[in-house]
Symmetry: C2
Subunit: 328 residues, 2 copies
């Protein structure tokens, strides 16, 4: 997977820009990751000792609950506490790029000129290593740029969104009254991943019912076992920032709990494990897919019935082992 | 990835059972695939020359459009034409297994004692090679058992569901009036994959509008270019089987079109390519994940900051090449 275009990128200068917290450097670094550019690896290698201090916060929930408004309000609250904040808006499962996110970004204009806020949308379907690895790497760039908190906002509630949200140290699950409520949350699997639940649009009818339902579902689940973090269920109205102080407090409390119990180191180790595995597999996939002659022969043998798919796959793996790669 | 338990499975007998169209043999074969059991490979190897004749039909659509009722009605119509039918109900993205599908299966009881119908739910998250490879393999088993048509019914409309539906030769997209209609379809990416569109619950208000919207969207899209298959938009009421004859006719017409244009061979080649790649990568992932010592060392180097994730991944790949596997 060598890339001759990498020569035009001045890696040490880019690393320096990122470490100095320059927004353009951060944007460029994340673009390289998104493109699966070879230079991304060198840039990330230059940032390792700056990694590991930021609090990574995932934010997810069904469409229509006000995710971007809430992200905006959380950023505002964090800024009032003097924290440097990164925001990654990730749409892992949409087959289309951009559209909806662009609209959301307009609402973030409030922070666009604030040097203490880094914003970035990622449309990274097809990225080498998958959206999870790309997101983890983008977090590393924001961390190195000096972010104290990195918010990962996912769009949608599919399994991939849940997986991305679960990359965080702390996951905030947003719900709103009248969206199917608790049962929808359970179906989407977000009841399992939330560390802090926020019922947004709390001024609407039914907010108290949604809070009660959620608390009840948490009580009934194995999340109420002693020794575990008991996820709080909070009410908020992101549009007016009502209740956002308590949300940011709960997120900070969870971080303290993670550190005290050793769960933080464990979560980060798991995340790194998944990242390294994804990158290794992506490199393997890249090599397999690009050796067209070998792959076509394997496919033909199955199509013509002279081999079954598993044997053809085993043969591909064996040939992969025997192949010697050139310089990376 | 050897599995000592494979000794207790009499592969030749199981292959014989499947080829004889015995329901228990088919169920057992698909279970082995679902479990990622080593014997599945040998079973599939025994079925290769029976592969390739069945018409693989995907059925997808948003929740609430009546997918299982429609599947049921399609099966009834196909049976009245003397076709042997397999039904695979796949839920690729739910983090939970079983539940909803069980309810659906009860409605299939009509066909439960019919020797010409094979039913199977797959809850194959985490399956080696992914849900797509598992589904393709389960189709091979049903084909070998003598199915003329294999219906793949997906639950939900996430990206994974779209991918599974796209494994088929012919994809039927179900919609219903008042479910957000065309715009929802476009968002979910199902406008691109449907070969036959069916507006179910046609007796409801708004059915004609939904049909008109869909036809309009197809007309506006690049699917209307000359030489391409022009997806029909049909009305049906699956509960009373109204309109199902026309649906099954359209599905059969699409198959004829696929054969005439050579697109069938191309689709099947693409499917096989994806399957072989997925299986090869799964075998690699399996080996990487199970070499705990090597993986833990790589993860530690990243966590401790002595390596970046990409370098650690590259090192894992290099060690994979150098490792010699024992007998499979």
């Amino acid at each position: 997977m060598s890339c001759s275009a990498s020569r035009v990128i001045d890696v040490p200068a880019l690393v320096e820009q990122i470490r100095a917290g320059r927004p353009r450097g951060v944007a460029r670094g994340i673009s390289l990751i998104e493109q699966g550019h070879h230079a991304a690896r060198d840039v990330l290698a230059g940032l390792t000792e700056r990694n590991g201090h930021a609090h990574v916060v995932g934010l997810t929930g069904p469409p229509g609950v006000g995710k971007s408004t809430t992200t905006n309000a959380i950023v505002r609250e964090l800024r009032s506490r003097g924290r440097v904040v990164g925001v990654l808006a990730v749409d892992p499962s949409s087959p289309f790029s951009g559209g909806a996110l662009l609209g959301d970004r307009i609402r973030m204009e409030e922070h666009a000129t604030d040097a203490g806020v880094f914003l970035r949308s990622m449309a990274s379907r097809g990225h080498l290593g998958g959206v999870a690895a790309a997101t983890t790497q983008a977090v590393r760039v924001m961390e190195a740029a000096g972010c104290d908190v990195v918010l990962i906002e996912t769009v949608g509630v599919g399994q991939s969104e849940v997986e991305v949200a679960a990359l965080a140290d702390t996951t905030v699950v947003l719900l709103a009254p009248g969206l199917g409520d608790g049962i929808q949350a359970a179906k989407a699997g977000i009841l399992e991943i939330g560390d802090v639940f926020v019922v947004n649009k709390a001024d609407r009818d039914g907010a108290d019912n949604t809070v009660r339902d959620l608390r009840h579902m948490i009580q009934m689940s194995d999340r109420s076992e002693p020794g575990l973090w008991r996820p709080p269920v909070l009410k908020a109205t992101a549009l007016s920032s009502d209740g956002l102080e308590a949300v940011v407090d709960a997120v900070a409390d969870h971080r303290i709990w993670l550190e005290r119990t050793g769960a933080l180191a464990e979560r980060r180790r798991d995340r790194t494990r998944a990242e390294v595995l994804a990158l290794a597999l992506a490199a393997m996939a890249d090599e397999l897919e690009h050796d067209h002659a070998r792959l076509d022969a394997a496919v033909s043998s199955v199509v013509e019935g002279s081999a079954d798919a598993s044997s053809a796959a085993a043969d591909l793996v064996e040939r992969f082992r025997r192949a010697r790669e050139g310089s990376p």
